[in-house]
Amino acid sequence: MNLIRSLISVFLVALFAVSIAGWFWAGEKPSANVVGSRVVLVLCGLLSVGCFSLLWSAKPGTGEEITPSQNLQS
């Protein structure tokens, strides 16, 4: 589980970094859609931070513990 969380976190951190870099890059380009670029990049950055926080907010056993018998009965 920690492996997959760590792996996904790498992507979320990369997304956050790319969003910041893209925000600056978009500002330097004479494009009519610079606002659109920056809005979606800000959203990407915020979503990556939110998802990262949620991903690491839980520890094993903090959720409902399901035993094998409960698992099969439910």
Binding site: N2, I8, L43, G50, C51
Partner: protein
């Protein structure tokens, strides 16, 4: 890795493949699907790094595989095909989710549905050799407001994030939810094993 699981429900001959893939093999199916999604993410993030950090010209920024196989990034059929595969996988794997995790999984599904519509528009323009809005290249609707690279980075983000949240609630089910019926995806503490 410290992940542990409860007993794996056994696949039987009476089960359909849908029941198997959403039950005993749900975990493996999600692993494979996640690997495919992350591989696709790698391409988009590498392309963004090439453009934003390395200052490569956009046409030269083709991700990883696109550097060796340039047709891949130019092929609307390939992009559309991937969007369809992702959409179908969301649909097929949904029955393994319950409660909060199902809600987030379906949010990801519906966003991916719109993403696929946008790719269908692009694919249609490529097939009929006629572009919308008199554009010199195929364009989608939201692309009128947001450039393609940023737009698809955004689309992949808004699909990926709810997908991760769904998987999170799948592995850490909320109290009171009768989660994980017939699958072994929940992360169990070591003490509850055996």
């Amino acid at each position: 890795m410290s992940a542990t699981t409860c007993a794996l429900p056994k696949a039987t001959d009476q089960m359909t493949w849908m029941e198997k893939i959403n039950g005993p093999y749900h975990k493996e199916a999600l692993w494979i699907y996640t690997a495919i999604v992350l591989a696709h993410w790698t391409e988009h993030l590498c392309q963004a790094i090439q453009i934003y950090l390395l200052n490569w010209p956009i046409p030269e920024s083709r991700g990883v595989l696109g550097l060796w196989f340039p047709w891949m990034i130019k092929s609307e059929a390939l992009h559309y095909g991937y969007a369809i595969i992702m959409l179908v996988a969301f649909w097929i794997l949904r029955k393994g989710f319950v409660g909060q995790s199902l809600t987030w999984w379906m949010i990801a599904f519906w966003i991916q549905f719109w993403h696929h519509i946008e790719h269908a528009l692009l694919q249609g323009q490529a097939i009929f050799q006629r572009n919308l809005f008199d554009s010199p290249v195929p364009v989608s609707i939201v692309q009128l407001f947001v450039p393609r690279v940023e737009l698809h980075l955004f689309y992949n983000t808004v699909v990926f994030v709810p997908m991760v949240i769904a998987m999170f609630y799948h592995m850490f089910p909320l109290p009171g939810e009768a989660a994980h019926q017939g699958c072994s995806c929940a992360w169990q503490p070591r003490s509850s094993r055996a």
